[in-house]
Symmetry: C2
Subunit: 503 residues, 2 copies
């Protein structure tokens, strides 16, 4: 038994842990535990008596007793009549039977299904201008929201700190149902509304709840990456459907050869191209989905922000009992960090949904939900939306004007119906990914359209997309002017470089 | 063209919508849209002129113009020189080609994988006594938390309302890393900590991130239902492993015949039985998992609440670079509605995790995260835990005494090491599910142990579990005394009924 070893273990640990402010007893316990695990204090060693060690280390004897007791409790040490003996923790661990063929040690990496997902780029702190999907955060009435939240916090009772109704706070479900009935023509009762923490979660739930592994999901091509990720993660088989000026353009052979279980689309404002699904196609989609037992996922992420007249009413509300799961979010109309979205499911599966949702989802966050319900019902939500529509309209006009001024002949606005972004086509012979990389150094976060396409699009005979999705929510007209001037310089420099190369 | 029809559509809609306070123009638009969709106003109908209709309905002409314009924009009506003509929206929809064999119309239900999950029971509002998993909510320092949250809210800047770092707020990751290093012996840096909205979400992520469809996951049997649900939803294959007094008891044939990709367990306080995984098994598990390339998911849900000395340190921290994903939550130590938990991943996969997590998860909720970081760092968290340990110890002792007083010979406490619940065995010849059903009417929410077993356990030669998991966090000793008296009466009545049946 070696005091010196125990002391040095203790002292080196004491130095290493100086900043952690451990008690003497915890420090001693930890230093001995580590020394035993690392083999520095070997199996069979008899530890110093508590009295001796306390004297040597100049700490209270109770601290030593505590540390020893804990080591005994945890199986590191056995208390015997002859003192505290260190157990053979190494041998215990390394006892793989000879019969067992250890499997080829797997690479230490994530699952194949996750590694194969299209990765989302890390947000560059240097380049944020024109990023899509983020509303005008500095125009958000933060003080008003704080007040609403503080009031809601004061109303929270202890009993509401537990797990809440997994479908969400009844008051919020009611407020949302009423709101979407009027604003989006959605036909629903509050019990059809399920609160989630945003569209990504809604999509994950849809992919698991409404389809089994290997079943087909139609997605728009180009389309929203987040949806693709959710569908792939759930093991579904993606069927890319082309998009034209009237939205997702399913052909007869799609229905015949690859009938879907799920159809995911953004009918009000196609992401990323910006077109609107025509009424004709909406009605046809309902009929065909009904005929083949498919569900339609209608992602209505920013329809409240239309600039040119009211949006088309939702597919969900075009008939009674449509096979539609309607997804909404407050990330665009309020702010993303709120993390509240919702899904509205058909009447006939409400009971099944309640069970499944309760089984898979934990809910809480009563104050936030109540503050939001209050925000909607008091009309502050609608008022905020009116302000934002005006603001975004001005910003869109500013961006369009800047493009026409600086990029005439190089870039054309191809869709700008609403929301917070527009879609532009590159007319110059340069590649959108290359341009976006070059523009990043100038602070521009351009989203190349080609990145939203599923590989294989070009082979399918459709012209490849070459352009950008430009988010203007945060860009004042003055900022847009400067940004488009910069972008024009970037594009022109690239064209010149190309020409020089060819020469 | 039929004024009467248009007027009746408008008027019936006006009555139906009286409570919705629609504007006249929205009301008119909506009534015409519905009438066209329902076929009440047929294809080819010429709508009344705006002037005439305005006079007939006694509303502003601009309202009529607005409604007509919107119907035109949305494709319901075509504006011609001869007036507004209703389009053939029905025909458009019902044009399924004759070649298409409509698939057998699928049943309108959720996916098979979700229907097959073990359902979680709806919380009965009448019976909440002794429910497990919910802390003593009325002992939570709600006012202190409100203050922390309000302070954090005041510090939130507009730029923080967007999508946050998907791994979580750096300050919170740092506070958690520091805390678990000291309290749980976890070896980690802040970048290994990923914030989630609770353990259910952590489990969903683990199941998808660390295993592919069809791969094997070992689960404790009996075990935590939420974990089983997450694994099944991710398409994994469950291998139930028996549990004895020293925790999950994997045998040689388990390793040989069904080597795992994932091992899920609750080593500090087995759920539901309450035992602790021995140090010997912990060390063996690390070695074996390393040898066969498996990941260990260490769900450490309530280890901070040990009553009899400090808990065993985490498996994660028993060696460097263990193949362990450590899961923690604030649902038990603070309150469930907070919806904040975390996962700590091995060093070598941090970069991969960052990419995958960013791709699949959206984060926000800056104020809540900052308030929590502050709560931990200021020591208020540790102080709260100390208070709760004392409270729960007293409540556990109260419940144990009440069981011994009222249920001697009928029920035995089989594990009560810590946390907020204990595990009891029924010694009487009655069925735990039947008892829990009968007790429900008396306000007791007993969780029968047999419900935590995977079917097939009995056939495997292991004795079936017959008993309960009793949550005492909310039960004062006085309440426990009354509840156990009631339970004794319920059990005795059932025994008598059984005897009478047999006679």
């Amino acid at each position: 038994m070696d005091y010196a070893l125990m002391m040095s273990a203790y002292e080196s640990r004491a130095r290493a842990s100086a900043s952690r402010r451990l008690t003497q007893q915890d420090l001693l316990y930890e230093s001995l535990r580590r020394a035993i695990l690392d083999g520095d204090i070997g199996c069979g060693t008899r530890l110093a008596s508590s009295r001796t060690l306390a004297e040597e280390l100049d700490i209270a004897r109770n601290s030593v007793l505590y540390a020893y007791e804990r080591l005994v409790e945890e199986g590191f040490v056995t208390a015997t009549r002859h003192g505290s003996i260190v157990n053979d923790v190494k041998a215990t661990a390394a006892r793989p039977s000879a019969q067992v063929e250890p499997r080829e040690s797997a690479p230490r990496s994530l699952s194949r299904r996750v590694r194969e997902l299209p990765p989302r780029r890390a947000p560059g702190s240097e380049a944020v201008a024109l990023r899509p999907g983020v509303p005008a955060l500095d125009a958000f009435p933060l003080a008003q929201w704080r007040t609403a939240l503080e009031r809601a916090m004061r109303e929270v009772e202890a009993s509401e700190l537990g797990y809440g109704d997994s479908a969400g706070l009844p008051a919020l479900r009611q407020a949302i149902a009423q709101y979407v009935r009027v604003s989006r023509g959605v036909r629903c009762q509050p019990d059809q509304v399920f609160i989630t923490d945003g569209t990504q979660t809604s999509l994950d739930l849809c992919a698991h709840f409404f389809a089994d592994e290997g079943e087909r999901v139609w997605i728009e091509n180009p389309g929203y990456l987040g949806a693709r990720v959710a569908m792939l993660t759930a093991g579904l088989s993606l069927v890319p459907i082309p998009v034209d000026a009237a939205g997702m353009a399913a052909r007869e052979e799609h229905w015949r050869d690859t009938p879907p279980r799920l159809v995911y689309l953004t009918p009000s404002h196609q992401y990323p191209l910006g077109c609107v699904l025509s009424l004709e196609r909406r009605l046809a989609l309902i009929e065909r989905a009904r005929a083949c037992g498919a569900w339609i996922i209608e992602d209505d992420y920013d329809s409240e922000l239309r600039h040119d007249g009211p949006p088309l009413p939702s597919i969900q509300g075009l008939a009674d009992d449509t096979p539609v799961i309607y997804l909404g979010t407050f990330s665009k109309t309020l702010f993303p960090a709120l993390r509240i979205g919702f899904m509205i499911v058909p009447r006939q599966i409400v009971t099944q949904m309640e069970t499944a949702h309760r089984t898979l989802v934990r809910q809480g966050r009563v104050a936030e939900q109540r503050a939001l319900a209050d925000f909607i019902e008091s009309g502050r939500y609608a008022r905020h939306l009116r302000r934002m529509r005006k603001l975004y309209l001005a910003r869109r006009d500013g961006l369009v004007a800047a493009i026409e001024k600086h990029l005439a002949g190089l870039m054309t606005v191809s869709a700008d119906a609403g929301g917070m972004h527009l879609s532009v086509r590159l007319d110059a012979p340069v590649d959108d990914v290359a341009v976006s990389e070059a523009a990043r150094a100038h602070g521009l976060a351009l989203s190349p359209l080609s990145a939203y396409c599923l590989r294989g699009l070009a082979e399918s005979g459709t012209a490849p997309y070459n352009g950008f999705l430009l988010g203007y929510a945060e860009a004042t007209p003055e900022a847009s002017d400067a940004l488009m001037q910069t972008l024009a310089e970037v594009v022109k420099a690239m064209i010149e470089a190309t020409v020089e190369c060819e020469v």
